[in-house]
């Protein structure tokens, strides 16, 4: 497949995501008709306060957050898989999700579920988990060690989350913690975007500019060094940017699984191994996937199933399908 065709595919997926985003404004249990919206745009309809509230305060930030978080998780997945040269790596593997979960659990159980404290502690603990794994592995010098320390830190954090769950009040703290761990975009406000959007978008753009280096890293550390790449520095920057953007979004949305693992593989199946194309396509697919999952949540009616359940329910079988595809050829 030549580069022009690859670009065309990316543009198609971008258009599909944009259309889905537009349609998402009219999905939900609150009745909001497109024709009324169109009439309002042309001044022929007076939207009620409730309609404006749902459109601009509930759905708008939620859709933007879905797009950014989906792109961030998928972009983080591509970056991490490139650094670790491991197809089973997702952005959460070095402790981000467990660290964030522990921060959220502490905030829910000991700080009266204050939303600001939940988000702040989730963000700080996510970064602290990555930083700890990074320092223990010798400043990320050995990515295998970093991966293993990430697993250790994750397990420790999980055990502490379990302890928090045990002590949590069964009426409101335990449900709050459970819902947080299952992820959700239902409480996204403009304030949520103020923090997560710049971090997510800037890191995504920075990582996008490093996709060529990710390709070189795939050749092996020695080869990359011989091509003039400062391997350790590049890896550190990629890990830092990925951790930063994933932690920023996860602290707002809770843990949303499978996007960071599945979409990079789908992108590779479509476009091959070139990260310059895989990265933007995965980011767009991630955004599309999370947006669609959130639409399903809102379409399914009242009560709102946590979106992490939907992404897992779709992501796991899709990943299983990918595994079956690779069964004969192997990952190489």
């Amino acid at each position: 497949m030549d580069n022009k065709r690859k670009t065309r595919i990316i543009i198609y997926v971008f258009a599909l995501t944009a259309l889905t985003a537009a349609a998402s404004f009219f999905v939900g249990s609150f009745p909001l008709a497109f024709k009324n919206f169109a009439a309002w745009v042309f001044g022929n309809y007076q939207m009620s306060g409730s309609e404006k509230f749902i459109l601009f305060d509930v759905r708008f930030p939620r859709i933007v957050m879905a797009l950014i978080t989906g792109a961030v998780l998928a972009g983080g997945g591509v970056s991490m898989q490139a650094v670790f040269k491991n197809p089973l790596v997702s952005p959460f593997v070095i402790g981000i999700s467990s660290g964030a979960g522990l921060g959220a659990a502490i905030a829910i159980v000991y700080f009266n579920s204050s939303p600001v404290i939940i988000e702040s502690l989730a963000f700080l603990f996510a970064l602290a988990a990555v930083f700890t794994a990074y320092v223990l592995s010798g400043d990320g010098g050995d990515t295998t060690l970093l991966l293993l320390f990430g697993i250790v830190i994750s397990s420790l954090a999980q055990s502490m989350i379990g302890l928090m769950q045990y002590f949590a009040d069964a009426d409101h703290e335990l449900p709050a913690l459970t819902f947080w761990m299952l992820g959700g975009l239902d409480s996204t406000t403009f304030a949520s975007l103020v923090y997560a959007a710049p971090a997510g978008l800037l890191c995504l753009a920075a990582l996008m500019s490093m996709t060529y280096k990710m390709n070189v890293l795939a050749l092996g550390d020695t080869e990359a060094a011989s091509l003039g790449i400062d391997v350790k520095r590049v890896k550190n920057i990629i890990i830092l940017l990925s951790a930063l953007m994933v932690a920023a979004c996860t602290s707002k949305t809770g843990v949303i699984g499978w996007i960071g693992l599945t979409t990079p593989h789908i992108s590779r199946i479509i476009l091959g191994a070139d990260n310059r194309f895989v990265f933007p396509l995965a980011a767009l697919l991630g955004a599309f996937f999370l947006l669609l999952s959130d639409d399903i949540v809102r379409f399914c009616g009242a009560g709102e199933i946590p979106v992490g359940i939907i992404t897992s329910a779709i992501g796991a079988p899709v990943f299983g399908f990918i595994l079956l595809k690779y069964k004969k050829t192997g990952w190489s």
Partner: protein, 387 residues
């Protein structure tokens, strides 16, 4: 080497710059739209009453809106425990949103909620207290929302909607907090008289079980060791903030109650060792709802060997708090609406000689008729555990 590197990048420079341009445009428009949306709504539309002020009415956290010009017509409840207030004041026909998934335990035909509110299933599900469904709540257009006092992320939306909030601490660890909530709610719905009558009955029950008005006799302190144990998901729960009220009235009736000195936590999980060590003379077991009836629940629970070592078991003084999903005792620990009946019931178990004249059946019938506008016999039927 350098040439190779340049060649490999140069071939797709045009393509990459296009992708970057598209992404940059996406970023630009996202920021632009976010800012525009925020600016647009800052002049925003209010859905309901303006100028709402809140007052923290007691230490436990009860927030009632300033008096409204007229009683609310549409209520959104997403905190199950606050349904007590709805049924007490008979405003169930004004409820358009409630936590259906959370109260499903009693939604079956003939269940407590279904009997008090036959149209309950046609109402919209507002989601869980920790995760309310904003779209459903907004869509119902309530003119008051009953929510918990603990903070939730959805608070930001409610602030924006400017719909008055009546926030209650659902567990009502102190009965004074519950009675405050009753008075404020009654005031809001123009039913001050009923609120006062209920308060009076509640307090009278407490007085009756702590001081005998006719003789001035008080219960003897610390002679009976009692434990109130909630068994939920195989955990034995006692003490903590939620049981403060139960601990208070058991103490008031002359009991030394199994609890932890540090009961600042919402609830304390007991080990079997804790229970055996305390060896209570009286045990009140609350399973929230005794699925399959009290007999079945008791057989299932008491099959554990350690119960047999306890004094209460040997003296046949283990009581299962009447809790079936047809009656007011449902989730008795929290369901403080019917606590006066629970107090009388416990009083008879602890001091049968002192409270022999209390006719529980009669008290229940009166309570249901007067405060719930319902027929106790019809609701409880053969399953009534109140004997």
């Amino acid at each position: 080497m350098i040439n190779n590197k340049k060649r490999s990048r140069g071939g797709s420079t045009f393509v990459l710059s296009n992708i970057l341009a598209v992404l940059s445009a996406a970023v630009f428009f996202t920021v632009l739209f976010s800012a525009a949306g925020a600016l647009f709504y800052s002049g925003g539309a209010a859905c309901a009453a303006e100028n709402i002020s809140f007052a923290n009415l007691c230490e436990q956290g009860l927030y009632a809106p300033a008096p409204l010009s007229k009683p609310p017509e549409k209520i959104a409840v997403f905190y199950p425990q606050s349904l007590s207030l709805i049924y007490l004041f008979g405003v169930q026909n004004k409820v358009s949103v409630l936590p259906l998934s959370k109260v499903k335990i009693s939604l079956h035909d003939g269940g407590f909620f279904s009997q008090l509110d036959p149209g309950i299933l046609s109402k919209k599900d507002g989601g869980y207290p920790a995760k309310p469904d904003i779209e459903v709540i907004t869509g119902a257009g309530p003119d008051i929302i009953i929510s918990p006092t603990f903070k939730i992320k959805a608070d930001a939306f409610f602030e924006k909607l400017k719909i008055p909030l009546f926030r209650v601490h659902g567990t009502f660890a102190k009965y004074e907090n519950w009675l405050d909530a009753v008075l404020k709610f009654g005031e809001l719905f123009g039913q001050k008289q009923k609120a006062a009558e209920y308060n009076q009955y509640f307090k009278k029950t407490i007085e009756l079980t702590s001081v005998r008005p006719e003789t001035g006799e008080t219960a003897v302190k610390n002679t009976k060791k009692a434990a109130h144990i909630v068994i939920n998901a195989n955990k034995y729960i006692a003490g903590g903030k939620k049981s403060r009220f139960i601990k208070w009235f058991l103490t008031n009736m002359g009991c030394e109650v199994l609890d932890y000195p540090d009961s600042a936590a919402d609830e304390v999980v007991l080990s079997v060792e804790d229970i055996v060590k305390f060896d209570p003379e009286y045990i009140f077991i609350d399973t929230v709802t005794h699925a399959g009836g009290i007999e079945n629940a008791s057989l299932k629970i008491l099959k554990e060997d350690f119960w047999k070592k306890l004094r209460a078991y040997k003296e046949n003084k283990i009581y299962f708090v009447p809790a079936d999903d047809n009656t007011c005792f449902l989730t008795n620990r929290f369901f403080i609406l019917c606590a006066p009946l629970g107090i009388l019931w416990a009083a008879k178990m602890l001091h049968p000689e002192k409270f022999s004249e209390i006719d529980l059946e009669k008290e229940n019938e009166m309570f249901y008729r007067k405060f719930l506008n319902a027929d106790y016999k019809k609701m409880a039927g053969p399953n009534s555990g109140v004997k």
